[in-house]
């Protein structure tokens, strides 16, 4: 599915909208999203899914300054012919107008590489097939999962500016049956395009070997005096969820985290997973500092929350959805690439400290999204225990309960960073490892 198809459909939409004399201005957001997912277990159970979704979200401003917002599946395009003038009971503003799009400096960060991505070849099965070559030598069952997604978006304003962008993402994970050990691997757009021309041997070999080295876990009596070390993936998920809840309710100027911590949103990050030149409202994006020295500095804004003046973080997104960003969702202020800095040292050396550490690499659960107190509870799937710098092996089967404010106030962040990406999160988070002093969080087996 190329951007050209969206442009064809756009012409169809424009010809319909131009027939309505009551329309003063309009903005069209179009999205085409193709997902392919494959899972195999012991080469016996096999699941393949493919989703193909195309749609548009429309903002129309009438001549009497009423705003009409509507999203449509491409299969429902005919409904545009019956569009009726909005007669809202809500008050209208006389000076209201949709902000015009501006010409971006570049047409797109990644360009349209959709022609080089052939989903008919089932790249998901290719990835799994390569992975199975490595696991064939082990006498245990494995579950392999691979996912690819190709997204194209287009924003068009009635002032005749059209912006387009393409994104391609790959995720892979492997688990042993009944023991959930997962490793996520993500390719950003540029490297995805490059690696698709190669085979996946090297990538998959590292991935499988790394996972296998962590199996044979055991249940332990949890030591009460242990430090907890959170993998960036876990910390990133907590921060991104927390961001949508307490942070946005916190007053500007309030100190909430340790004074050396800084958080900013960086939509232009090189190779950033959610880097984009413009948001879903067509506003050019820019970096924004959100927390400076532990103190809240800014909120993210979309057009509506900035009184139709600035924006830049308006994305059609929803939490905990199969597709976190879709034309179906209303615009909300959302993160692009969130970056947490201010740490010192390297995370890999955190385990060298005296005493006992539990390194938490993977966990699932529903952190208390929206909690007044930033509380979370996670079920830990994958962890390691270290004593006096010596690795004692993997552990499993416990839950972790705590408060994000507290761990980011009392904890120590590393300077190195890696990216936290989760399908549930409509953005990415770049952060380091966090070591949390004993008794700051509660472990329960």
């Amino acid at each position: 599915m190329a951007v050209e198809y969206l442009k064809e459909k756009l012409e169809e939409i424009r010809s319909i909208l131009d027939n309505f004399v009551w329309i003063k201005e309009y903005q069209v957001f179009m999205q085409s999203l193709t997902n392919q997912y494959a899972k195999t277990y012991e080469k016996i159970n096999e699941t393949i899914q493919e989703n193909n979704s195309i749609g548009l979200a429309l903002r129309v401003l009438s001549t009497n300054n009423q705003l009409l917002e509507k999203s449509l599946a491409i299969s429902e395009l005919e409904q545009l012919n019956t569009l009726t003038e909005p007669k809202s009971t809500m008050s209208s503003r006389e000076d209201f107008e949709l902000p015009p799009l501006k010409e971006p400096h570049r047409s797109s960060i990644a360009g349209d590489f959709s022609n080089s991505v052939n989903l008919q070849d089932r790249p998901t099965l290719g990835i799994i097939s390569e992975a199975e070559k490595f696991t064939d030598t082990y006498e245990m069952p494995f579950e392999h999962q691979a996912r690819v997604s190709l997204e194209q978006k287009l924003v068009h304003n009635s002032n005749d500016i059209t912006l387009t962008e393409s994104t391609f993402r790959v995720n892979y994970q492997i688990s042993t049956t009944f023991e959930v050990y997962e490793t996520h691997f993500n390719l950003n757009r540029e490297t995805a395009a490059r690696n698709l021309q190669l085979n996946y041997d090297e990538i998959i070999r590292d991935l499988v070997n790394a996972t296998i080295s962590r199996i044979k876990s055991r249940t332990i009596n949890l030591p009460e005096d242990a430090c907890i070390i959170l993998h960036p993936q876990i910390l990133g998920i907590l921060i991104s969820i927390y961001y949508s809840s307490k942070f946005v309710n916190t007053e500007i100027g309030e100190t909430i985290w340790s004074k050396n911590l800084n958080l900013y949103d960086d939509p232009h990050r090189t190779n950033g997973y959610y880097s984009t030149l413009f948001d879903d409202e067509g506003t050019l994006t820019r970096g924004k500092q959100l927390i400076a020295d532990g103190k809240k500095l800014n909120n993210l804004t979309d057009l509506r929350s900035s009184d139709w003046q600035s924006g830049g973080n308006g994305f059609r997104m929803e939490w905990f959805q199969a597709r976190p960003r879709s034309y179906q969702f209303p615009v909300r202020p959302a993160i692009s690439n969130l970056v947490l800095t201010g740490g010192t040292g390297k995370g890999q050396y955190f385990t060298d400290r005296p005493g006992t550490c539990i390194v938490i690499r993977d966990a699932q659960g529903i952190p208390s999204m929206g909690s007044h107190r930033g509380q979370f509870i996670l079920q830990v799937h994958e962890a390691e225990i270290w004593r006096n710098g010596i690795h004692e092996g993997p552990v499993k089967g416990f839950s972790l309960q705590g408060n994000l404010d507290e761990i980011l106030t009392k904890g120590h962040l590393s300077a190195d960073e890696s990216v936290a990406i989760n399908r549930l999160i409509p953005g990415s988070v770049y952060t380091g490892w966090l070591v949390i002093p004993p008794s700051t969080v509660v472990l329960r087996s």
Binding site: K70, S88, G397
Partner: protein, 437 residues
């Protein structure tokens, strides 16, 4: 060798979403969506293809469906047309008696008018959601089902400016007109306003173990999070659930009986599930004993049992998976006063603010919107939100009294990446000892 099972679900949905914050509409959007999901089972393999661009994809659809199976054998689908030996057409009048957008505007305008005199003392948010769904399910086993339904939900958040830690949330809605109308909403608004005024510099509840009475909303959260998710058969098969292998075991007090019943006219209502299986009431816990899990066709086959009609998908592009529908917690003999009378010191834990659980371990955490002190059998001071912690089985084994009045309300449920509406029927319950933080 043919394909064992094929289902084709077409869903057409007209929706409205609106959010009003302190009198200002920040979202007001209608949605139209139409698409097809195509699910196939063949031995141990399954495949799923979905599209909302059917006209464009249709010529390829059969090829894709067959290639999903990765089999060289001749398929009997779709060369052999689906027999339509079973046809059901279910219609409901639903809660939307006029255009969703107009009816929503009217409700929000009414709430804004009513709250105009309260803006000095509170902040408020109104979220309103409406769906008009037409669903067509066809299966290779001969089912052809039409299912038309409507649903409506209104969430109201009130936050006291004097006591900002108090944030009252209530949800109104369902699938019938009687569940969602202007008068009902305004009555609930009045109740919430009256409740908000009961808080006067509320203090925190003590930490420790106390006897508590849970409101129906908290009772439901405890059962839904602590038991409901843990009996979904996909969690059992993968060994993720702490209730794996516990069928036939005592997992709760003998007072407790819990059923999942999609036939009840609440948010989880469906006469057929999304695989075309006829729904039925499934007894999950009978007098404290775990008696069944919730199954789809696939999980039932894997566990050598029958599907329970719990295959639910949030959209045409989602594969149906085992989900709860309407959770019914059987009422017993006690009125609220009788539950309170033996408590010298304890708490009434108010409606849930947030609940989460670790299915792996059974650890559960429920944060309430507020709580109320119980002293010498009487309800006294309103207190700040409290957080209940513990293991689901410990808490459920401490349930000793169940109320005689049942509350019906809509809720929604998040599992992995899909959100579904679920109906709840729950009474007050008395728990002898619960840890509060």
């Amino acid at each position: 060798m043919g394909i064992d099972f094929v289902s084709c679900v077409q869903i057409s949905k007209e929706s409205f979403r609106g959010i009003c914050v302190n009198g200002e509409m920040i979202e007001r959007e209608t949605k139209s969506d139409w698409g097809t999901g195509f699910y196939l089972l063949h031995g141990t393999k399954d495949g799923f293809y979905s599209t909302n661009d059917f006209s464009r994809s249709n010529p390829q659809l059969v090829d894709i469906a067959q290639s999903l199976l990765k089999t060289n054998h001749q398929s009997n689908y779709p060369a052999k047309p689906i027999p339509r030996s079973v046809t059901n057409d279910i219609r409901s009048s639903g809660p939307w008696q006029q255009d969703m957008l107009e009816q929503s505007d009217e409700i929000i305008a009414g709430i804004n008018d009513h709250l105009a005199t309260y803006t000095d003392m509170l902040r408020y948010v109104v979220k309103i959601r409406g769906d008009d769904i037409r669903k067509s399910t066809q299966t290779s086993q001969g089912s052809s089902i039409l299912h038309n339904s409507q649903s409506a939900t209104l969430e109201l958040y009130l936050n006291s400016k004097d006591n900002p830690e108090i944030e009252l949330t209530t949800t109104i809605g369902g699938v019938q007109e009687e569940d969602f109308n202007y008068d009902l909403i305004m009555d609930r608004l009045e109740e919430q306003l009256s409740l908000l005024q009961q808080f006067d510099n509320p203090r925190q509840a003590k930490n420790g173990n106390f006897p508590v009475v849970l409101t129906p909303d908290s009772t439901y959260s405890l059962i839904h999070e602590g038991i409901g998710h843990a009996v979904e058969a996909d969690q059992i098969i993968t060994g993720m659930s702490f209730l794996t292998g516990k069928l036939g075991y005592k997992v709760a007090s003998s007072e407790l009986t819990v059923t999942d019943d999609a036939h009840l006219r609440n948010s989880g209502w469906a006469e057929y599930d999304d695989e075309g299986t006829k729904t039925k009431g499934t007894l999950i816990i009978e007098e404290g004993i775990l008696v069944d899990y919730l199954h789809t066709r696939k999980t039932a086959e894997a566990m050598d049992t029958l599907p329970t009609g719990n295959a639910r998908a949030s959209s045409f592009d989602q594969v149906p998976e085992p989900r709860q529908s309407n959770i019914f917690i059987e009422p017993k003999d006690y009125d609220l006063e009788e539950m309170l009378e033996d408590i010298d010191f304890g708490y009434l834990l108010g409606p849930t603010y947030l609940a989460s659980t670790s299915i792996y371990t059974g650890q559960i955490q429920i944060e309430t919107q507020y709580c109320q002190k119980i002293e010498n059998g009487e309800l006294t001071d309103y207190m700040q939100p409290a957080t209940m912690n513990g293991h689901a089985l410990n808490i459920l084994s401490n349930v000793s009294k169940i109320g005689n009045t049942i509350s019906k309300f809509p809720t929604d449920c998040l599992k992995a990446h899909s959100r579904l509406e679920i109906g709840a029927y729950a009474p007050h319950i008395f728990v002898k000892s619960v840890n509060l933080q």
